[in-house]
């Protein structure tokens, strides 16, 4: 009895602190000021439709091309990582360790400014974005895919081989399709990370029609001296990442049930 009373008391105190904090914030905050900064309707209206047709679309495009390239390279690295030829393994391990260990921002700077300056070439912005996002993403996805391939039971390969399939045929037709089902949740997670990393594009010199959400919001901030565009950009990121996160949880639940 006494223990239950104590639990109840602790809970009451916790709620009390919460209510006090909310009240203090509500009383102390200057609501008019906050509203002007974050929810300026005029500024908000001025963002449309460009924030959708340009910025949101570009964010999705940058993310997808980075993800597509990263996935292909990640699969290649995973296969190299599992190769029986040691130099391939070393190359893959070296690559993975390198790109996991350096900031993505550095890769963007290297590709966006370093390569064009050093080699006197100009690279298409989309290619730069695809390479920068993909090179980093591939390092993470390679490890995920390798784990997925190794999680496919050995009996699957043995059954395929005993039916006369070659090692590579068994890999392509039997192992990889199953590995991808296993790694779908972590891959969707990687897609969320890449969606957010696509904001690093903002530091490249972009033309207006190449703006993505972050750059677009930053530009509008300068123009209107209001946080509203930033809030809108944030909401659009959430519109992308929250459903993906939901998908990840559903995929994880499905995987858990399949076991």
């Amino acid at each position: 009895m006494r223990r239950r009373n104590r639990t109840r008391l602790i809970r009451t105190v916790q709620y009390g602190v919460l209510v006090a904090a909310v009240l203090a914030f509500a009383l102390a905050a200057d609501w008019g000021e906050l509203r002007r900064a974050f929810f300026d309707l005029g500024v908000a209206r001025a963002q449309f439709p460009e924030v959708v047709v340009t910025a949101l679309v570009n964010t999705v495009v940058y993310t997808m091309i980075g993800f597509g390239f990263g996935l292909a390279l990640g699969l290649l690295l995973a296969l190299m990582r599992l190769s029986r030829v040691p130099p391939y393994r070393w190359l893959a391990v070296g690559y993975i360790e390198f790109f996991r260990g350096i900031p993505a921002l550095l890769v963007f700077i290297a590709l966006g400014f370093g390569v064009p300056l050093a080699f006197q070439v100009s690279i298409n912005q989309y290619v730069t974005v695809m390479l920068a996002l993909g090179l980093v993403g591939a390092a993470y996805m390679a490890e995920t895919i390798r784990a997925g391939i190794q999680a496919v039971p050995k009996g699957q390969t043995e059954a395929a081989r005993s039916l006369g399939m070659s090692q590579s045929r068994a890999m392509v037709s039997i192992v990889i399709p199953q590995a991808f089902r296993i790694v779908l949740p972590p891959l969707a997670n990687e897609l969320i990370l890449l969606t957010k990393d696509s904001s690093l594009v903002y530091l490249l010199g972009l033309s207006m029609d190449q703006y993505e959400l972050t750059k677009f919001g930053r530009d509008a901030l300068n123009q209107h001296h209001s946080l509203t565009p930033i809030l809108i950009a944030g909401l659009f990121y959430l519109a992308l990442t929250l459903p993906l996160g939901h998908l990840v949880r559903r995929l994880e639940a499905r995987t858990a049930r399949a076991r």
Partner: protein
């Protein structure tokens, strides 16, 4: 793609009457389908097979029995080179599989293998499990592969399950699909590694019935099993293995009925009547 001369053995129509065709009558074969000589296999320091000699003639059914860990699976896996023998030779279907020059993938498609754990491909339907290997390995077209597949599903009594995924099937159904998958490649011989050991007792019968029918049709079979009644009724020969060596070999009425070796007797007592085994094991000799 190379379509092999006589590889269409999985054609369903003649499925029930293979004995009429080129395949020798049950037990009457003269050519050796499997010929294993002086087979040794070690995993590191552990010597698992200590010189195995075994011959299976075309059309013959040979059952391998023996305690767990005696090397039965390893023997079977050496026949289709899922394990690389340490020494000795293995000849299967006229190929010396231990010869590094031999294209093992071409030999394996002539050898059907059925695993204890079924090993169906979970991402494919029943039909997909049966057609994908035919199409990728034998180069058959979709229509032909599906026709062969349906014929073999009929043979194992699962025509109504062709669009089910393995997870939707019972263990016994999965194992019958696995048998149909192997048959769809038109194999010359079949290896079975404890095909009923992972099944609930009430599902064992269906699988054994399919295997019985295969044997009657003249299929060459090397079967590792603990089903003594199956060995007794279906096998032409029974081989008892213990600790990586063949201890006793002969017709089932002899090896299972009147075993000559004490180790065979002890094993059979344990399998046939677990309660009596303790008594027997304490007896000297």
């Amino acid at each position: 793609m190379n379509r092999n001369e006589n590889d269409g053995g999985g054609a369903p129509e003649d499925g029930g009457r293979r004995g009429d065709g080129g395949v020798p009558e049950h037990g009457a074969g003269t050519s050796a389908a499997i010929e294993v000589t002086g087979l040794h296999k070690s995993f590191g320091d552990l010597e698992v097979l200590k010189g195995i000699d075994i011959t299976v003639r075309g059309g013959e059914v040979v059952c391998v029995i023996g305690p767990s860990g005696s090397g039965k699976s390893t023997l079977l896996r050496c026949v289709n080179l899922l394990e690389e023998p340490t020494s000795g030779t293995v000849r299967v279907a006229g190929f010396e599989v231990t010869d590094p020059e031999v294209d093992i993938d071409r030999v394996r498609r002539r050898i059907g293998m059925v695993f204890q754990a079924f090993n169906l491909f979970p991402h494919l339907t029943t039909l997909g499990n049966l057609t994908l290997p035919q199409r990728r390995v034998l180069g058959r077209g979709r229509a032909e592969a599906e026709e062969v597949a349906r014929g073999n599903l009929r043979r194992v009594g699962l025509t109504d399950k062709e669009s089910s995924y393995p997870a939707q099937l019972s263990g016994g159904q999965q194992q019958r699909v696995a048998i149909a998958r192997a048959l769809s490649m038109g194999p010359e011989l079949m290896l079975f590694d404890e095909p009923t050991s992972a099944l609930d007792p009430e599902l064992v019968g269906d699988v054994l019935a399919v295997m019985r029918r295969l044997a009657q049709e003249g299929m060459t079979m090397l079967v590792v099993t603990h089903e003594m009644s199956f060995a007794r009724e279906v096998a032409d020969r029974v081989v008892f293995m213990d600790a990586g060596a063949i201890v006793e070999e002969g017709p089932p009425e002899q090896v299972v009925g009147e075993p000559q070796q004490a180790r065979t007797r002890a094993f059979l007592a344990r399998v046939l009547d677990p309660a009596a085994a303790d008594v027997l094991e304490q007896e000297p000799g």
